[in-house]
């Protein structure tokens, strides 16, 4: 038996959480270093996964499979495809930065009465690692039930992170902050729990269907996909649609898709900036990832049936999120609405059912994670300095803290998908992919880009330019720790913006496979492309077919 690499990648942060939580109350600083150490170790393991993964190899690699709960037909089954590998890498990369950025977020307030039993700092970092462990295992799970368990369990540490460690940005009374924070935490939990419980009904239904038709109930993704392909498992289309809706509802809450998005601005606004990054850049990705892995592959017919409605919801998300972002007065809520707009793009790409669309959506997940992390963390540094989240309280920061302003600008430009930075490529691919099948939707989605430019530039203009406000005058520039957080993220944005091939090479075979399960082929191009570069990746196995636009002249 080989070394269970995937299990290790999830167990290490979980172990780290336990160790961090066990650090004595007095050794606050040690807890931080322990947490950072474990997150780096996880990063190393994720790097090994990335290296060991062979993009041209089997569908699921590094698989592990053990009996777990026989009665429920549940197996402990792990395996990664290109999409999962990319997202695990994203998670593992972001967590150390999140920990570093939140270095002082959970320190007790000045003059607070020390309490030997209350250890918020240890708790904060332990919870972050716990979330990492659960996110990683949900990316790895190829058993629907196993996925579901961690998809749901993840809510609990997240809930404590949001409710227990709020943003201390002032301007409001302590009591008001606490009320808002616990409101945000409860809203987060109830939305996601409701989604999860609806999914539970669908999970039970899936078991009933497989038990009915295959003899023994199973949750194994591969088994179900194979059975469907082999014609052993034939779901009535009404059943399939109901099950699809049950799954999709949970993922749409998590992702979040309009009109189920309202928890996100509250949660991101009230939590500290690193936790906000954790929510939008890491945890929410599980929702869009699961649409690709579970919704499309378990219920291909229903997915096609639901596509028009979902595309419309995604479009509404894009436009609505962007419009509300423009109207925000609160920096963090602005970024939250921008994220809703971006999730609209991701979902649009997934359900465009084209190679470019889905490949772009996967890249989008990674790029959005990095760009939002950069923007949000810098915003967090800014907010901590001034003690306010309101845009109106800032002005002229670039004269006082040029490095902070510069990094903020780069994060913002990445968010509006400036060419040369990573998100541009993914957004472009999503639009191309959408356009080739649904031209009208593609056109409308493009409006989102214009609006993105608007909200990012307005935000920058109002906070960073103009006359220097009195309260901002003594603002220090980025410290070394903060630079260590921001610089690598910006480097990654530029690198992936200029040379996305390594990432694309990993992702694309998995996307092709998903497409083949859904039995969708790319539409024939109206205008033959002779040299489309990597945008027109076509599977090696049938390069000569008319599937890809790279087929040459008609």
């Amino acid at each position: 038996m080989s070394f269970p690499l995937l299990t290790a990648t999830a167990v290490v942060p979980a172990l780290g959480a336990v160790v961090t939580a066990a650090v004595p109350a007095a050794q606050r600083a040690a807890a931080k270093w322990v947490a950072l150490g474990f997150s780096l170790l996880t990063l190393a393991l994720a790097a090994v996964v990335l290296v060991r993964f062979d993009p041209g190899g089997a569908r699921f690699q590094l698989t592990e499979s053990h009996a777990w709960i026989k009665d429920f037909g549940v197996r402990y089954e792990l395996g990664v495809d290109g999409i999962a590998v990319a997202l695990i890498a994203l998670t593992a990369v972001l967590i150390p930065f999140i920990i570093l950025a939140g270095w002082h977020d959970a320190d007790p307030l000045e003059g607070a009465r020390p309490n030997s039993r209350w250890r918020p700092t240890q708790g904060f970092f332990a919870l972050i690692l716990m979330v990492e462990a659960m996110v990683v295992i949900s990316f790895e799970a190829t058993d629907v039930f196993l996925f579901y368990i961690f998809f749901e369990a993840m809510l609990i540490p997240m809930y404590f992170l949001i409710g227990g460690f709020g943003d201390r940005a002032g301007g409001r009374s302590e009591e008001e902050t606490a009320t808002q924070r616990s409101y945000a935490a409860v809203k987060f939990l109830l939305y996601n729990l409701a989604g999860g419980l609806i999914m539970l009904a669908a999970v039970v239904g899936l078991y009933a269907v497989t038990a009915d038709q295959l003899g023994t109930g199973t949750f194994s993704l591969q088994e179900i996909v194979q059975a469907r392909a082999g014609g052993h498992l034939d779901m009535a289309s009404s059943t399939e649609r109901l099950l699809f809706l049950g799954f999709f509802f949970a993922f749409a809450v998590k992702a979040p898709l309009w009109p189920l998005h309202t928890w996100l601005p509250n949660a991101m606004g009230e939590s500290t900036a690193p936790v906000a990054v954790l929510i939008t850049a890491v945890v929410d990705k599980v929702g869009t990832f699961a649409m690709l892995r579970f919704c499309l592959q378990l219920f291909p017919e229903a997915s096609k049936w639901a596509t028009p409605a979902i595309m419309i919801l995604a479009l509404i998300s894009i436009i609505y999120g962007a419009l509300l972002a423009i109207g925000q007065r609160d920096i963090k809520r602005l970024i939250a609405y921008a994220s809703i707009s971006h999730f609209g793009f991701i979902i649009l790409g997934i359900f465009a059912m084209t190679t470019q669309g889905q490949g772009g959506a996967t890249l989008y997940m990674v790029n959005h994670g990095i760009s939002t992390a950069a923007l949000m963390l810098v915003a967090g540094f800014l907010i901590t300095r001034r003690g306010s989240r309101l845009i109106a309280d800032y002005g002229g920061v670039q004269k006082v803290a040029p490095v902070l302003a510069g990094t903020f600008l780069i994060g913002g430009l990445a968010t509006l998908s400036l060419p040369g930075l990573a998100p541009f490529i993914s957004e472009f691919l999503v639009l191309v992919g959408t356009f080739s099948r649904y031209p009208a939707f593609g056109v409308i989605a493009t409006v989102g880009i214009v609006l993105a430019a608007l909200y990012v530039l307005i935000l920058y203009q109002r906070t960073m330019t103009g006359p220097v406000k009195a309260e901002v005058r003594s603002m220090p520039d980025l410290r070394v720790r903060e630079l260590v957080v921001v610089a690598p993220l910006i480097a990654l944005l530029i690198f992936l913006g200029v040379y996305p091939k390594p990432l694309a090479d990993i992702v694309n075979p998995a996307v092709d496979h998903t497409m083949s399960v859904v039995d969708k082929k790319d539409p024939k191009p109206d205008h033959p492309v002779t040299d489309a570069g990597w945008f027109s990746y076509s599977p090696k196995s049938d390069g000569a077919s008319h599937d890809g636009p790279s087929g040459g002249a008609k």
Binding site: A67, A153, V186, V204
Partner: protein, 550 residues
């Protein structure tokens, strides 16, 4: 001689030789769990009568623990001897079934009782009175609350050690209840465990009036439900001419071998069967606490001493669901097209009613009471499945749920202020800051109630929902899921209160318990997590045990 006899036989038949009184054939070995517990209960009574007051506590505790452990060992022994599977049989002349579900539930009840006895015996939580350590029970139950006799009893440091034999009697009845194989045994068992519970409910040391009120309520409503049950039994007897489960089942299924004229007259009379069956069901649903027979639950849960509440909430439910399962699966399976729609309705209103009303509760014990109602609804969904999976999922759920409940109520006993236990939810604000460990443990129990994955509550809920979906009750699953979402709201609210609210300056303190309560809570947490993470062994056990003997 022979000639005369033959002539005689032309118009008479020889009367059958008068039946010798059959010597009762009692399988002491197979009944040993019940016998041990009841025997120990009698020993407990004798201890009360003959031992000096000072020595009673230790002696009673010792006898109870040893008896429950021995009875549990006996259950294990029977199960190991295949009495749960291949050698399942009917014992005590048809009165008691010894089979898988009976042994599984008896084992569960005994373990629950053992852990509950730990919380009964806790004497470090209440402040020392006149130099004596006291427990949660009244100094002298017969003394008028607030009267001189009570003051004298308190001053003398009396304690009600009678609770131990009372618990043992209750446990004895509960052991028989799910294994009763005829209706009369069922009724006797019901009374044997109900009466001690009525008394136990009245024994709280603090808020005695509330406690006595709860007991009276419980007693009156319980008496009503017993009357319903008894009347139902009479009607069923009228219908089938027998009280034996298998006999009634034969009549219901129309498979009677020799139909006597009397039987032929009644067996077509479905009114007797339907009304009788419905009344027996009512009696059982009352004990389960299903809507609309749940009215007693919140008052009794709130008023009873908390260790008793925990014991009652866990063990009564196990026993009553066992009896309900046996009744529906052994006696009335032929009638399932009639009872299933009714039970659908009961399950739906129980799930939704319990969950929705719980949202408005402000007292932690009442909250847990309504949550127990909602859980009864979830378990009913498994009962309705009418498949072997339905049985095993209910068995598993009961085992999982009872330890969560026990643990949760044990935690409630720890949170105290000057007036005893601080059960009002507003007093729990900020508990997580003051005592993170206790709050975290309670949070684990709440998450298990809410059915969050990796806790036993999730495994149990999944098992019953799966069985229900397989059994053709998919709509029930959807309603179950919706009420779970509602229920999650109020569990989460308590967690919010504990962790995210500022502690009140006059808030309660957490008493440091003796190893007795600590171990009860630790067992609760351990079972919750083990059944959540690695439930396979116990699911296997439950599915092996999932066959009734007839």
């Amino acid at each position: 001689m022979t000639h005369a006899a033959t002539v005689h036989s032309l118009w008479t038949t020889a009367a059958a030789a008068p039946d010798k009184i059959p010597s009762p054939d009692i399988e002491y070995g197979q009944l040993s769990p019940t016998l041990i517990v009841l025997g120990a209960a009698i020993v407990g009574v004798l201890i009360e009568a003959f031992l000096p007051r000072r020595q009673r506590y230790v002696a009673q505790l010792f006898v109870s623990v040893v008896a429950l452990a021995a009875a549990f060992a006996a259950v294990i022994g029977l199960a190991a001897g295949d009495y749960g599977t291949s050698k399942a049989r009917v014992a005590a002349m048809g009165a008691i079934a010894v089979d898988g579900p009976a042994l599984f539930l008896q084992g569960t009840i005994l373990l629950v009782a053992l852990v509950a006895v730990f919380t009964f015996a806790e004497r470090r939580l209440d402040p020392v009175v006149h130099g004596n350590r006291v427990d949660s029970f009244a100094a002298q139950a017969a003394a008028v609350p607030g009267g001189d006799a009570e003051k004298a009893a308190v001053k003398a440091g009396f304690t009600t050690t009678e609770v131990f034999p009372l618990v043992l009697f209750a446990v004895g009845g509960m052991l028989v209840f799910p294994s009763a194989n005829d209706l009369l045994t069922l009724f006797v068992a019901l009374e044997v465990f109900s009466l001690p519970l009525y008394i136990l409910c009245a024994l709280a040391r603090r808020h005695r009036a509330l406690s006595q009120e709860a007991a009276v309520k419980y007693f009156l409503l319980g008496a009503f439900s017993s009357a319903f049950l008894l009347f139902g039994i009479a009607l069923l007897y009228g219908y089938a001419g027998t009280v034996a489960y298998s006999g009634i089942a034969d009549v219901v299924d129309g498979q009677v071998r020799n139909v006597t004229p009397a039987l032929a007259g009644t067996m077509g009379n479905d009114a007797l069967l339907l009304i009788g069956g419905a009344m027996v069901l009512m009696g059982l649903l009352f004990k389960i606490g299903a809507v609309p027979f749940h009215m007693w639950t919140p008052d009794v849960y709130q008023g009873a001493p908390t260790p008793v509440t925990g014991f009652m909430a866990a063990a009564t439910k196990v026993a009553a669901f066992g009896a309900l399962l046996r009744l529906l699966y052994v006696v009335l399976p032929g009638l399932r097209w009639d009872w299933r729609p009714v039970m659908w309705g009961v399950a739906i209103v129980t799930m939704l009613g319990g969950a929705i009303v719980a949202v408005t509760q402000t007292d932690v014990k009442r909250l847990l009471a309504y949550s127990s109602i909602a859980h009864a609804g979830f378990i009913l969904a498994g009962v309705i499945a009418t498949t072997p999976e339905g049985i095993s999922s209910v068995l598993f759920y009961l085992a999982a749920y009872s330890f969560v409940t026990l643990g949760a109520f044990a935690v409630v006993t720890l949170v105290r202020d000057a007036g005893g236990e601080a059960t009002h939810l507003s007093k729990w604000a900020g508990l997580g800051r003051r005592s993170p460990l206790v709050a975290a443990v309670f949070a684990v129990f709440l998450l298990a109630f809410a059915g969050i994955p990796l806790t036993s509550g999730f495994a149990g809920k999944f098992a019953v929902f799966k069985a229900a979906a397989d059994g053709g009750a998919g709509a029930l699953v959807v309603i179950g899921v919706i009420s779970s979402a509602v229920a999650a709201f109020f569990y989460i609210r308590v967690i919010v209160l504990m962790f995210f609210s500022e502690p009140r300056t006059d808030g309660p303190s957490v008493a440091v318990p003796s190893p007795l309560t600590s171990s009860a809570i630790a067992i609760g947490v351990a079972v919750t997590l083990v059944l959540g993470v690695a439930p396979q062994y116990f699911l296997d056990l439950a599915s092996q045990a999932g066959v009734f003997v007839r």
